[in-house]
């Protein structure tokens, strides 16, 4: 589904990623771990199409298409989703209107009809329930005054609504207490199937107790320095990152 080949990325001339190779197939969960500043969030932003980052070398091939030149919205239309580490607060747009607009934009881009209002409402209710989101919450302004946990739950709610093929969860566990973490992880697991894939980006092993990865990769100084299965995450938890460097 996703194949990253020798990816080099710079921000304002400063190299951040220095030759990333990663293959993700449908049905898989990959965890990318690493210390602060190793390039984890850069990698997720680049896959999602953030134009602040400059790809200087290498390719990102998604569903057999090189997506490096595609805009963020085009990538979203093709089924790429990123759960933001810091979801942006947008006063004046409600969660409901935002998600309606997003869904219909995606349908329109795929030349499909807009979702009828009753179907939309039903889906919103269903997915809100999955993530134990109060209906009052949906009529609030997007992320405005949300707690850290509410923001992250709202991200996974959007993921549930949009049903992407490839989801990148960027530090989704940060700012979550254990109850919220379980709700979010449960949501992700329920949405997982053999046709989609998830990349979990995290500093800590904690989330991986609930979202169990097939592969674990360690990122250091912009390169994947070690890959393994879920046992690697446990080793990192015990020994820290120093032994890998």
């Amino acid at each position: 589904m996703l194949s990253i080949d020798n990816l080099h990325v710079s921000v304002e001339g400063k190299p951040i990623l220095n030759g990333i190779n990663l293959d993700v197939r449908a049905g898989e969960i990959h965890a990318i771990m690493g210390p602060n500043g190793s390039g984890k969030s850069t990698l997720s932003s680049v896959i999602a199409g953030n134009e602040d980052y400059e790809v200087t070398k290498g390719d990102i091939v998604y569903k057999n298409e090189n997506i490096i030149e595609l805009s963020p919205e085009e990538r979203a239309h093709k089924g790429i989703f990123m759960s933001f580490q810091y979801p942006v607060e947008i006063p004046g747009i409600t969660v409901t209107n935002f998600i309606k607009t997003a869904i219909n934009s995606n349908l329109k881009a795929r030349n499909e009809n807009e979702m009828p209002a009753n179907k939309m409402l039903k889906k919103i209710r269903e997915k809100a329930e999955l993530l134990e989101i109060d209906s009052k919450f949906l009529s609030r302004s997007l992320n405005e005054g949300f707690s850290g946990g509410e923001k992250k739950r709202n991200e996974i709610f959007q993921m549930a609504m949009l049903e992407p093929s490839l989801s990148i969860l960027d530090e989704t566990d940060s700012g979550l207490d254990i109850d919220a973490l379980k709700i979010v992880a449960n949501g992700v697991n329920k949405l997982k199937n053999k046709n989609n894939a998830v990349i979990v980006i995290t500093h800590y092993q904690r989330l991986l107790d609930y979202i169990v990865p097939d592969y674990v990769h360690v990122l250091h100084q912009g390169k994947i320095v070690k890959s393994g299965d879920k046992e690697l995450a446990h080793q990192l938890e015990e020994k820290g990152y120093d032994w890998i460097k």
Binding site: E73, P87, F98, E114
Partner: protein, 438 residues
């Protein structure tokens, strides 16, 4: 001949058409004399530093439209509010159109100034209010007074709460290559009365229109005024709107100004507080592009204690457009416990557009709360990426953020059909179809 000269020399012809043996005509002639002395403002005048009338004044405007053009309702239907019962006062090329209008004399007077100036039954109100609140140093108001003849006349007597809003529409049919219009409006809302008014100027062709409008509004004790100005005219139309609101104690007067169209639009919005516990609210959304200019000059004169004023103007500028905001707040020595709030937020969508924003606070009392804030920025790039990453295309994402930016001004619009019209215009202006209701 300059437009100023043309106006002065047309006055004799104007006098042939009206009754000159009236107190009102004395005011007209005095105003003309003052105008002759002052002429039109230039960029040398402090209040006109950022807005030049030069390009307008060099055009050869017809001062009196010759022919009465008839409009069919079906052709202009779109400019009226949908799904809302309203009174209507409609002018076509400066003439009252009785067929498109729906006036009333049923316990209120919702009609036209030409009637009010000539019929004796209105003389008491006219002599009490007409031309009593304008700035006698403002040449544009003066030249309007000199030719004051037609416009809106609204009188809502004591305790009357008007159920239906009043729509005021000024159409220009393009019957002259370039036409100057000078509507003169008088609105009197007596004690405990309430009224809602929506004003629109609409040219129907690409011919030049220059409207210099004066509206005097008197809001009595405990009365409510809710006034909406929808400025979405064609790019060859310019508008100078001089509005004077005088308020008595405990009254509430809100003016919303929505500026999207027009070549040059200048809003001189003046509030005079004449009692205590008054609330004066001014809000605006400006979205312009190309070579458009919108200039908001507000003045609030806090002359009595315990009053408040709220100003909230949002502007979004693209193309080579220019915005001006000048908010003057005067707090007299005796106006203790004044609460004056002013906010002007602007977004420049490119580096060719300009905004000149200037708060002007003159505070002579010591126990007051006055705050003002001005911001100039771009759309939040992180927010834009967030929306795009969810599949919302760039243009729509920008529109959505623009909506969000302007939303708190829209929230205070009390008439649903006005709100939906404004939203439609905004979507249209931004070239998107959002397909939802915020």
């Amino acid at each position: 001949m300059s437009l100023a000269d043309k106006l002065v020399s047309s006055f004799l012809a104007f006098e042939l058409d009206i009754n000159i043996q009236t107190p009102v005509h004395i005011k007209r002639t005095q105003a003309l004399k003052e105008f002759e002395k002052l002429g039109f403002p230039t960029k040398k005048d402090e209040a006109w530093k950022y807005t030049s009338l030069k390009s307008i004044l060099k055009e050869d405007f017809t001062i009196f439209s010759k022919k009465k053009n008839v409009l069919e309702f079906k052709n202009v239907k779109n400019y009226f509010l949908d799904n809302t019962e309203t009174y209507k006062i409609v002018f076509v090329d400066g003439f009252f159109d009785p067929f498109l209008s729906q006036t009333s004399h049923d316990g209120v007077d919702i009609c036209i100034l030409s009637a009010a100036l000539t019929k004796s039954v209105y003389s008491k109100i006219i002599s009490k209010y007409f031309d009593t609140s304008i700035n006698t140093k403002d040449s544009l108001s003066l030249i309007n007074t000199a030719f004051a003849k037609e416009g809106v006349y609204v009188h809502i007597p004591k305790n009357k709460i008007l159920e239906k809003p009043i729509e005021v529409l000024h159409f220009a049919t393009g019957n002259e290559a370039a036409l100057m219009l000078q509507p003169r409006n008088l609105i009197v809302v007596e004690k405990n009365a309430q009224v809602e008014i929506i004003e629109t100027h609409q040219s129907l062709t690409e011919n030049s229109i220059f409207t210099n409008s004066v509206t005097e509004i008197f809001v009595g004790e405990n009365a409510h005024l809710d006034y909406y100005k929808i400025q979405n005219d064609r790019l060859n139309s310019s508008l100078i709107d001089n509005t004077y609101v005088s308020q008595e104690q405990n009254s509430l007067a809100k003016v919303h100004t929505f500026s999207f169209g027009g070549k040059l639009t200048r809003n001189n919005l003046n509030y005079f507080q004449k009692g205590s516990y008054i609330n004066s609210t001014m809000k605006g959304i400006t979205i312009i592009d190309e070579n458009q200019l919108v200039d908001h000059h507000t003045l609030v004169d806090h002359a009595k204690p315990n009053c408040e004023s709220h100003q909230d103007y949002k502007g979004i500028y693209s193309g080579k457009s220019t915005g001006v905001f000048n908010g003057k707040i005067v707090v007299d020595r005796i106006a203790q416990k004044t609460n004056a709030f002013q906010q002007n937020n602007n977004i420049l969508l490119n580096d060719k557009s300009t905004i000149n924003s200037k708060p002007q606070l003159e505070i002579f009392a010591d126990d007051v709360k006055c705050s003002h804030g001005c911001t100039i920025g771009q759309l939040d790039q992180d927010a834009l990426f967030y929306l795009r990453a969810r599949g919302i295309p760039k243009k729509e994402a920008e529109a959505l953020l623009t909506y969000a930016f302007a939303n708190n001004v829209l929230e205070s619009v009390n008439i649903p059909s006005v709100k939906s019209r404004i939203k439609k215009i905004i979507a249209n202006k931004l070239g998107v179809d959002l397909g939802f209701d915020l």
